[in-house]
Chain length 206, copies 2
């Protein structure tokens, strides 16, 4: 039965194998960053022989960059869906984003953090391509939060004198630190503390 099913399958296409490698790489780098992720482990999980790997990627660094691009794409979709959702008031969108983060931490038992945060910590060891790429990710993430805050300000929901640019960057600084702490405590409490200070103290939301 299995053999019959298998015989009907097509040989995995270039795109399938590459996608599988990227998916597994994304999971592993979210758990432990770039340097602690062994290529052998990725290949074993993906069921791809080493020789084939180099058909898809030039090197481990090339693979790492592709994983970052993949993560960036997934995250852009998530931020687009949650933070550009015009049916939801702008501050509630940020609230929803935080709640989805809480569910993600619980789903993976606090093992997976932020891939961008993990790789960022290894920065001293990474080359400039990586650094620039990760910087661009943070710039785009800040822009999403800044848009929500801008809209909230136009609606009179936050103080007109809030420095939106600084607060949007600060949001991500504290988010990265709160994710790190949640992994350490194996608890979502740090995220709830983050949420409370962000909304009640920084935004002074009623």
């Amino acid at each position: 039965m299995k053999a019959a099913m298998r015989s009907q399958d097509k040989t995995p296409s270039y795109k399938d194998t590459r996608s599988r490698l990227l998916m597994i790489g994304t999971e592993m780098l979210s758990e432990k960053g770039f340097f602690s992720t062994g290529l052998e482990e990725v290949l074993r999980s993906a069921g791809v022989p080493k020789g084939s790997f180099y058909y898809y990627f030039e090197s481990k660094a090339d693979f790492g960059l592709a994983v970052v691009e993949n993560y960036e794409r997934i995250w852009a979709q998530k931020l687009e869906r949650l933070l550009h959702d015009s049916a939801v008031p702008p501050l509630d969108r940020i609230h929803n984003y935080i709640s989805e983060g809480v569910r993600g931490l619980e789903k993976y038992a606090f093992r997976r953090g932020c891939l961008i945060g993990n790789i960022g910590q290894e920065m001293a060891l990474l080359d400039d391509d990586f650094r620039q790429r990760i910087l661009r990710v943070f710039v785009s993430w800040s822009a999403y939060v800044a848009e929500c805050l801008g809209e909230a300000r136009r609606r009179g929901e936050i103080s007109a004198d809030l420095n939106i640019e600084n607060v949007s960057k600060f949001f991500w600084f504290a988010w990265e630190g709160a994710i790190l702490q949640a992994k350490l405590e194996r608890s979502t409490q740090p995220i709830e503390q983050f949420r409370s200070v962000f909304f009640s103290t920084i935004l002074r939301r009623a």
Copy 2:
């Protein structure tokens, strides 16, 4: 001349060699965390043969824990000196701590971040001893900031309804994220953005 000087030297004591290993380990783990730091590299820098290493430490993990303890001790002294300085108003002490962080980043050309943040990111791979130790460090660091904020509240310098416990934890979340971003940008601008939001928006300091 050199030989004569050397002959007068005593053989390095147990404490000297162990201290040198810890100092070099602290530098390296501040740059790249635990897993990316090779033992060979530590030994080469310290000029200690591998056999001797195991005279001082049972394993790399044992060494890593000792490095964390060493870092904790250095940091406790720094926090004690800056945040318990009764000659300085409490909020200025936090300000001084941030300024010393800025100088540290510049001194090491943005290569060295927070050892505790680096190791925290590797958490999925570390055992429970490490996790508990690092948690304790964050608890003690938060207590220092909470004390300053408590004093500032008694002096009427911050709002009486500020949730000091949450804000103190939040301070360190955002600090870790700002250090990460400063390393990425190779600039102290993220730290200045952190400082501005912390004092002007969170504490509403005039």
